[in-house]
């Protein structure tokens, strides 16, 4: 152990060897190092951490539901293709199915307004009532 180490060790044990400048400097340093730092956590620190953990659990649940939805969609699509004997190379896109709407313009307008109305109801009444 060299002199400097010896001095640190003795000051630490409060067995000071003299009043030299080195000893005094070390005493000042050891005293300062024992003091609590100025940085303090807020009073609500634990609440904030618990809240973050809960939020993360909810986000994980939402993500799980999204993946279940995506998986269900893929399974349904595969099942439909298999059950209906759908073949990609013989597929032609046409709007024949919707041609009947040409005779009922009111039904088309009603359908559009009805869907918009439902969305508005959901946004203004249902979502605020469940706190989203």
């Amino acid at each position: 152990m060299n002199n400097e180490e010896e001095l640190q060790s003795q000051i630490e044990k409060s067995a000071t060897t003299g009043h030299g400048l080195d000893s005094r400097s070390y005493q000042v340093i050891f005293d300062a190092l024992k003091k609590e730092p100025s940085f303090k956590l807020s009073n609500s620190f634990e609440d904030k951490v618990i809240q973050k953990i809960e939020e993360r659990k909810e986000a994980a649940k939402d993500a799980a539901w999204i993946w279940i939805g995506v998986a269900s969609f893929i399974i349904a699509a595969v099942a439909s293709i298999m059950l209906t004997g759908f073949k990609f190379n013989s597929f032609n896109f046409n709007v024949g199915t919707f041609r009947f709407l040409a005779g009922y313009p009111g039904l088309f307008i009603f359908g559009t307004l009805f869907v918009l109305g439902l969305q508005l109801l959901d946004k203004k009444i249902i979502r605020p009532s469940i706190g989203e």
């Binding site: 400048l21 730092p37 940085f39 956590l41 620190f45 973050k52 993360r56």
Partner: protein, 186 residues
């Protein structure tokens, strides 16, 4: 107070009340580590939150080979070092001894007379200028009263390195403080 085994078992089961109690027991340690290693006050509290979230995630892997406090200190140390790296603050190497000593001790020109409080804050200002590895070792030793092996476990440093860093850090700060005290005495 619950023992560490029971506390950890309850946290693993998802008991928020137990985790709250774990935070209460170790928040001082985490705050000391982050407070000493990270300069930016705005980052500090958020970093402490992230550390406890990491503790929550990983506590199931804790195998009681060390004290719970040593393990939490290790999470806090490594998370703080990663934060400094992300902020592009150079932390990978301890600077070359001679060059760093010369640089560290040469840029002060004490002019004013100091009282005790001023000396304390001056010492802390000098400590802030040390490499983070030195600051971590000083904090764990002087504030948390950890032993050399415990500091080694918390920081991943060999015991000899811990002793060496502790000695060098104090010696470097002493050289600075000496200049001020010398002025005061003359």
């Amino acid at each position: 107070m619950m023992d560490d085994h029971a506390l950890v078992a309850r946290v693993v089961k998802g008991d928020n009340h137990a985790f709250r109690s774990l935070i209460k027991q170790h928040s001082r340690l985490v705050a000391h580590m982050v407070g000493r290693l990270v300069d930016n006050n705005e980052d500090r509290e958020e970093l402490c939150q992230d550390i406890f979230m990491k503790v929550h995630d990983k506590v199931g892997e804790f195998n009681f080979q060390s004290k719970l406090s040593t393990w939490i200190a290790s999470v806090a140390y490594h998370h703080s070092i990663n934060h400094l790296r992300k902020k592009k603050i150079h932390v990978s190497d301890i600077p070359d001894e001679e060059r760093f000593t010369t640089h560290f001790t040469s840029d002060e020109n004490p002019e004013e007379q100091l009282n005790d409080d001023m000396i304390d804050s001056l010492v802390m200002k000098f400590i802030d200028k040390l490499p983070p590895q030195y600051k971590a070792v000083l904090t764990l030793y002087h504030l948390e009263h950890m032993s050399y092996p415990e500091i080694g476990e918390a920081t991943g440093m060999p015991e000899g390195t811990v002793k060496n860093y502790l000695f060098r850090a104090r010696a470097l700060v002493k050289e600075k403080v000496k200049k001020y005290l010398g002025k005061e005495l003359s």
